[in-house]
């Protein structure tokens, strides 16, 4: 059962496509990290899913409901936190929680108190007098206190110091058992610690979307030491899944985006006749995305 399901979702602004044929499936219970560079279309995709803006074409279903028809019933089960959101700044933290409570049938007072304690939020202070980190914590607390089925976070860590990020991640993870989470970010380190699934968007297109374990297992940095002088083979002989090749006289380095120990070894033996050593290293998410981003931009050029 998918909590979010998109088909060919597109949205343009003045003829410039922000989201282009997005196909996305987020299974229930997943923590989905939507990553990509600035301007990739992540925020537009999320706003379309949240019925904040209307798609030009395609369809999306959120919690089984057409995103264009999302209303109070669905929003009572959705938490949405965005760096761009305008909270009623005149409210104190305590009044914000008190005000929101009647909107949510599943509001949990003890959870709300726990979140305020956990985030060390001052209940009597107005939101406008909170630091950016505290403001974001208040926003998150007000979206977790009713134990939403879906939590949508749009760039929640942007501009926050590491301690606040850690607190936010802890708060999000504490809710992960009962909540499907969609979190957009260009902060890969945080997403790596959070996400069970990952999608990469660039220029409005979802380049890939898969489970985090699959992604990290299929990307490897490979270094091949050769005895004889190596030159780049002609087109067609270099495997397409080998990205970002770097060639020195006796060393060839590349990223294998479809790592399979046997296949990779066979391909290396076929292409490099005098292999003296092969080193295969797992890659952090950041390196994977740098590779993806560079390969994509090179491909587009």
């Amino acid at each position: 059962m998918n909590t979010i399901h998109c088909q060919n979702l597109s949205k343009s602004f003045r003829g410039v496509p922000a989201v282009n044929g997005l196909n996305l499936e987020i299974p229930a219970g997943a923590i989905y990290g939507l990553v990509g560079p600035n301007g990739a279309g992540k925020t537009t995709a999320i706003k379309t899913l949240m019925n904040i803006i209307q798609p030009d074409s395609g369809a999306a279903h959120v919690l089984g409901c057409d995103s264009r028809l999302l209303g109070p019933e669905q929003f009572a089960r959705i938490g949405y936190v965005s760096e761009n959101q305008q909270l009623p700044d005149w409210m104190t933290v305590g009044y914000l929680m008190q005000y929101l409570k009647p909107f949510y049938p599943t509001w949990d007072d003890s959870r709300a108190d726990e979140l305020i304690r956990q985030f060390e939020l001052p209940p009597g202070r107005q939101l406008k007098h909170l630091s950016r980190g505290m403001w974001m914590k208040a926003s998150l607390a007000s979206s977790l206190a009713y134990r939403p089925q879906l939590l949508v976070l749009d760039e929640p860590f942007s501009g926050l110091d590491p301690l606040v990020r850690e607190d936010l991640i802890q708060g999000i993870l504490d809710s992960a058992d009962e909540t499907t989470i969609l979190c957009s970010s260009h902060d890969l380190a945080e997403i790596e610690t959070l996400a069970s699934h990952i999608g990469y968007m660039d220029r409005g297109i979802l380049r890939f979307s898969e489970e985090m374990s699959n992604l990290t297992s299929r990307f490897r940095e490979v270094e091949v030491t050769v005895e004889a002088l190596f030159t780049m083979p002609p087109n067609g002989q270099w495997p397409v899944r080998w990205l970002r090749p770097e060639i020195a006289p006796s060393l060839v380095r590349f990223v294998d985006s479809g790592f399979d120990p046997r296949q990779t070894d066979a391909d290396i033996r076929e292409l490099f006749t005098t292999v003296s050593n092969v080193t295969v290293n797992p890659m952090p998410l950041k390196s994977i995305f740098v590779t993806m981003a560079r390969s994509t931009s090179k491909g587009n050029r």
Binding site: I52, G71, P72, E73, Q85, Q86, P88, P102, F103
Partner: protein, 506 residues
Amino acid sequence: MSQALHIFRKDVRYLRLEIAIFLALAALFAVDSSGQIAQALVVILIIDAIHLTSRAIHAEPIPGAGQFWTTRPYRWQSLLIAKLLLIAVCVVAPIGIARVAKLVLLGYPLGASLVPLIWAQLLLFAALLPVAALAALTSGIMEFSVGMLALAVAYLLATFVLPFAARIVRVWPVSVEWLHESAVFFLLTVIAGIVLFWQYRYRRTSFSRGITTGGVIISAAVYLVIPASAGLIIETWLSHGTVPAIEIQPDTSRKVSLPGRSAQDLSSGLTRIPLAIAVQNLPDGDEVAVDGLTLSLDWSDGRHWDGTASVTGSESKNGRASIAGAIAVPDRFYSISAPVHIKGSLYFTLFGDAQSRTIPFTNHPTNAQDGLQCFNGLNSQAHTKSAGDRGGPPVDYTEDFSSYFCRTFFGWPSRLVYAKAGDLESGFTRLVSYSPFPSGLDLDSSDARYTSLVTARGAISGGINEVTIVTRKPMVHLHRDFDFPSVRMSDFLIDTRVFAMPRRPR
């Protein structure tokens, strides 16, 4: 409804300072009725009401993609009701309470004032809907202020600049002006209702702005383009009274002096020629008030002229009304002895069903019928006296004289009003609106008028003990066409020998 109340309570808390200021202003409005301060207070109250309304709407702005409430389980109906409730409770109700206090302080009867009071409150609420709609199209006070400014400029253009530039000044008679104003008010209120619904239901700001712009243009067109004659026709059409078999004849028994020429006449090369017509077979006791008189003049030598006559006087007695008027024609058409074929249209109203109430003649306002409160008071009139033989500049001075006043709280009633003392009857101004509504939109629609009753009766010092206030209500609005095949303007003049073709001033 509980969600609406919840949001309403939040807004009251949010706007408590603004609400407190508005309540203080409303309290001042209730107790103060002193001339210019009261007028300034009304302006401040209106501005504050607009401000409070926009602030309430902007607590949950509609346009924009970063609004907090759009991803919370708000029901649009609850949000809209909460905002309307705040306008009703924190803006309209305080004004209502202030009006009640004012009524009590001024000694008006509350029971008789209830219907106009409720109507005035409803109108005030409706008038704030366009303000709320504009606020719903904007995301903050700056955008809203720019929108208000744009509307103000559009209003000034439509009311003053364009009509003069395009020479399409549409001066509507006071009697039917209510139709003109009601049409525009109704249009704007309906558009506001549509915009509010559309914005709160669908949040389609671009579309709503398109509707608003279209609506404002249509309203301006209605205001500018529709001629006064349309108002007269509609008023007649709406009238349901019994229509008597009325005859219209030239009234050669009535002699008038040659009408004067206004500065505008002089600059336009126009001369006014007189006309008197008689309306016969009126029901006994009914009085005629002319709403419009259009004439088409054809001379035997082929000259032709169409125009609207101004009515200079009318008298009703024994089932017959005599109406004196004048029509401006070009100087070259001036010919008072040549026979002319006159075709005309007369729009008029029969006033009847006289009601009277006798009240003591005092300096203290006393309640009469139809919301009138009458008293003997001092009237001031400014004069300028030339220095005469002494030389030097002219001297300004004010003359105070006793007059008999009637005042109302919710605007002058659609009645002809007379004050009668003994055998002397004196009417208040005949400029009355035929509006069927019990009150108008003005925050302060109080009106005071006076008659020369006391001045005329002044010779009998202390001779008046009581005054009878007589009112006649409009019974039926009529339109009659008439055709006088051959009349001479000289037939209506006091003495034609003394009049020659007036010279144009050098």
